[in-house]
Symmetry: C2
Subunit: 503 residues, 2 copies
């Protein structure tokens, strides 16, 4: 989930300077129109210390007219507040229609802190999150626009930032023992945040994870999202709809051009080192090792009744088929199923899009391999426009819930994205056209998909950002070298199974 916010996104100073005047003007304009509108805008800032929550709130107050903004930062509840139900202080501070509220460390803060400190159990944590989700639903059902930003930094980036603050006499006040104590609990904190975001990211009030390292980038992203959210709310109010249609229809105007360029440039895929490879000799040995290991593990899985679901997604010609064959080659045919997922049949189209995948859940103790999967909803269906924006935005949550049920039932979820460079894909396409027995593998659709490489890149990045969870993480495979890719797939699968199975 946070991988997509650890890729070093930044905006040059000149790009930033070119964006700001226009964005400020647009924000003021939107704010002006909002004043007469029948709904409030509620913006939540949460996230990692020093990832720029406070600075962003200050900046928004500077960019917009602060008279119509309510800004609140919450610390521990006072005695007064403790005597009322948890949400009382937030209800009290809710903005009236026509205003904007910027809330720092609001209703997500104490559930996450209690969970990190193990003061509450997972199911108590879930109950608090459900309560918060119901609270937000009551507000959005009433017309409110809710935006939730999770400002993120990697553990290393946070350490660097804390250290640099300590050295700077002007910034030193920012760093106390508390900040370092939090930093040491980074992993627990991020695990709790992962669960919170997963369970409370709804189509009406979705989380946006923002990489906080570069000040220019994060400021523009938050400003653009806020501007667009207000505009969508106004549009909806003009049309007299009660509920916001999430983000549909306004797609074209969504990201500012500079941000769009950043999104295409810096993403989880571009962080992969595609030069990684394995010689044929080493491949042979490693393949044999990993296959025999997998065979033993799958026998143990069968005995223990533990099912595994492996999802393979990736570019056309990225080697999904080859990797899958190296997995199944290691196994007894009774132990696995490969489910190739093509366009849905007539019958499947008459059901919810998840229905056909539910059908294919196999009995206990088996490995089910999905060659493409339910992620089609947020990849091809998104890019080709078969799923509207509100549909694929909702799909992230539905998919997370689906996988949560699988994992909750004891199933091990392993998800692979096979990545190759655009050049490598072209090389493979040409190879397929030239080699007679490979010709069937390439069609017009592949060339069409290739033309939308940039759109797919954004879709993949969003998919990883929204569905790579602690319980079902994505593994990105550097696929330019087939040897390397296949061994990494086998090793990852083996490691995950070993981790899950009893000795």
């Amino acid at each position: 989930m946070f991988e997509a916010a650890e890729v070093g996104r930044k905006l040059s100073k000149s790009d930033y300077k070119a964006q700001v005047p226009r964005l400020r003007w647009e924000l003021l304009e939107a704010q002006q129109q909002l004043r007469k509108a029948p709904f409030p805008v509620i913006v939540l800032f949460a996230g990692v210390d020093t990832a720029g929550k406070g600075e962003t709130v200050n900046l928004l107050n500077e960019w917009m007219d602060p008279r119509w903004i309510v800004t609140r930062g919450y610390t521990d509840p006072s005695g007064e507040e403790r005597e009322r139900p948890r949400l009382w202080r937030y209800w009290r501070d809710l903005p009236p229609r026509g205003r904007i509220a910027l809330f720092l460390s609001a209703w997500y803060s104490s559930p996450i802190r209690h969970r990190v400190a193990s003061r509450i159990s997972t199911s108590e944590f879930d109950a608090l999150l459900d309560q918060v989700a119901a609270f937000e639903r009551a507000l959005t059902d009433d017309g409110a626009v809710i935006l939730k930003f999770w400002m993120h930094l990697s553990k290393a980036a946070q350490k660097k930032r804390l250290a640099s603050f300590e050295k700077d006499p002007l910034q030193r006040w920012r760093v106390t023992k508390k900040q370092w104590r939090h930093w040491r609990m980074f992993d627990k904190f991020v695990a709790a945040a992962d669960r919170a975001i997963r369970r409370t990211s709804t189509d009406q009030a979705p989380w946006q994870i923002v990489e906080g390292e570069d000040e220019h980038y994060r400021s523009i992203v938050v400003g653009v999202e806020l501007r667009d959210a207000i505009r969508r709310g106004l549009e909806r109010a003009r049309e007299g709809r009660t509920r916001s249609r999430a983000t549909a229809k306004t797609r074209e105007s969504r990201p500012a051009r500079a941000i769009d360029r950043v999104a295409r440039q810096f993403n989880v895929l571009d962080n992969l080192d595609l030069s990684r490879q394995l010689s044929d000799a080493r491949f042979k040995t490693r393949l044999a090792e990993q296959q025999s290991r997998l065979n033993l593990l799958q026998r143990r899985a069968r005995q223990q009744g533990v099912s595994t679901i492996a999802v393979f997604e990736g570019w056309d010609a990225s080697g999904k088929g080859g990797a899958i064959r190296r997995v199944t080659g290691a196994l007894d045919a009774r132990d696995y199923d490969v489910i190739p997922v093509a366009a849905p049949t007539e019958e499947e189209r008459a059901h919810h899009y998840l229905w056909r995948f539910w059908r294919h859940l196999s009995r206990a103790g088996r490995l089910t391999i999905f060659d493409r999967s339910w992620y089609g909803r947020v990849l091809v269906e998104r890019v080709e426009g078969f799923a509207r924006e509100d549909e694929y935005m909702r799909a992230y949550g539905e998919i997370n819930q689906f996988e949560e049920q699988l994992v909750g039932h004891g199933i091990l979820m392993v998800k692979f994205w096979l990545h190759i460079s655009r050049e490598e894909q072209l090389r493979r396409f040409h190879d397929r056209t030239r080699t007679s027995y490979k010709k069937w593998k390439i069609g017009d659709e592949d060339w069409r998909n290739r033309a939308r490489w940039a759109d797919y890149t954004i879709a993949v990045n969003d998919m990883v950002a929204r569905t790579s969870t602690r319980i079902a993480p994505w593994t990105l495979i550097e696929g330019n070298d087939k040897n390397f890719a296949r061994v990494k797939v086998l090793t990852t699968l083996g490691d995950r199974m070993e981790n899950r199975l009893k000795k």
Copy 2:
């Protein structure tokens, strides 16, 4: 919650016979149109044994074309099914678009049974219910129409029915030891059902509690609701909306006329014995007893930091003010607040309708009396059309969540509906017009509300049906005799406080 389904609603045989032919024709017509529509209809039947779940399902299959109906009854999961996540078997049976599914004892059955048998904790129960709610949301977001019927019988009615079945050689097979075992657990069962219904009744998939005692009544109610739900879905599909607007716009055509008459005749209010009274002499003694008891209890509450919220709703001139004064007359002025709730101010209208009530939550250890309350949303706002049908349907759930947070925080919730007969109201109105110092109490609005007595009766009945929960039950007060009403209010409040407070 179930009080409203224990009032003895019935439909005469002649009324039934007059309704059925037309209803069948309308159901068939709706079903025919549904076949080409882009959504499925899913109908759940749950409830008390022998309340007619199975008979109703059979009847619907008889009334409609069974070729386009999927009927499923679920028992304990098979080995096959146990090897998959809980919801797998239901996903598998979901109807395609254009079809109707009738599900008996489906996804609510095992969570409720596990809870009744104490095999799971309350928070595990809640987690299962939230999972189920998310499942239903995924389906309704995709366009599905979901109807949930809870078929209810009172404990006494169920006993009578079981006994009569046992005597009848043709029905004897229906009653086994299991049914009697269930009957003995009636209270636990109903408590779990109360929680399940409260937490999963959403505006898109609301529960309908149906009184199951009279076969004619329950059959027509279910048939009418199903017909209307299909029609609403078709209308929505024609307008190209994704989400159903709950039940708005089709209000006029909703209940069949005979059912409407039954709803007005048999309701929770008509079950009250308005002839109950207390002589002045007895009143004096009882009042003094109860007031001094309340005074002691409220002192204890202050020491223990336990807050009480008492809600007073009732007809105009039903004696709310007088009853409230008898409560406050017993207390130290520092110990209570009376919040009179009139039409919202400009500022309050600019917020969510619950906002102004959140503001008035007092500090720990106090009694807060709401003279009218948040229930205005589902009473006057519903009847006067200030809240649309989708808004007040959603309000039931929002109010239940609100009260759950209050009770969860340790607050005691006591809710009164003061009932008087229409004739008694007229008498009091005339009295007010004649007595100079009472004249201010009566205005045009009171006469207007009086004219809508029948609409209010239905609204009150729905309010009790949907918001009288185990944690925050309604107490209905027989109010024709003021002495009796005041003592019952004081006694109820005292009993609830005594129950809640530590010795």
